[in-house]
Symmetry: C2
Subunit: 92 residues, 2 copies
């Protein structure tokens, strides 16, 4: 498999993309941490269903234009938001 240049080149690209994803996620959680602290200070609830509805609609739209499965984009946001809410609840 070491001689499989197609596989090797694809994996190099995947590794580059994954590094970018990890760094973006690190930045996203830094911001949601600030949001969590702000919500805790001002007494806002951790979850905001209206905001999530808007986010899902927007991400599905972006997914369609970029060629990502819209259903997966929604699952992805749910996965991230669940982690964010877990963090917010830990802060309380």
């Amino acid at each position: 498999m070491d001689d499989d240049s197609v596989l090797r080149e694809c994996r190099e690209s995947i590794d580059n993309i994954d590094a970018a994803l990890v760094h973006l996620l690190a930045e996203r959680f830094k911001i949601t941490k600030r949001v969590g602290e702000h919500k805790a200070t001002t007494g806002l609830p951790p979850a905001d269903p209206d905001r999530e509805t808007i986010q899902i609609a927007r991400l599905r739209q972006l997914a369609e234009t970029s060629g990502l499965d819209p259903t997966f984009s929604e699952k992805f946001l749910r996965f991230i938001v669940d982690e964010v809410i877990r963090h917010h609840n830990q802060v309380r």
Copy 2:
């Protein structure tokens, strides 16, 4: 809540990051689709546990340096790889 400039600014940044994440994921799945087709043609199995072990170790390392929870980075990769394997099995 419309007057809450802290919340508004944070959400604008989150929306920008989410757009970037969606576009990177679209690109990642384009590459893994090519990998899937290549594996189907050459008879390689969809999953590759050795490769996944290396990916997890690398992502945990990147997570630590960027301030992301390493456990979450591993959960995240698992989440993405599960979707990729679902795609690969659909191709067969």
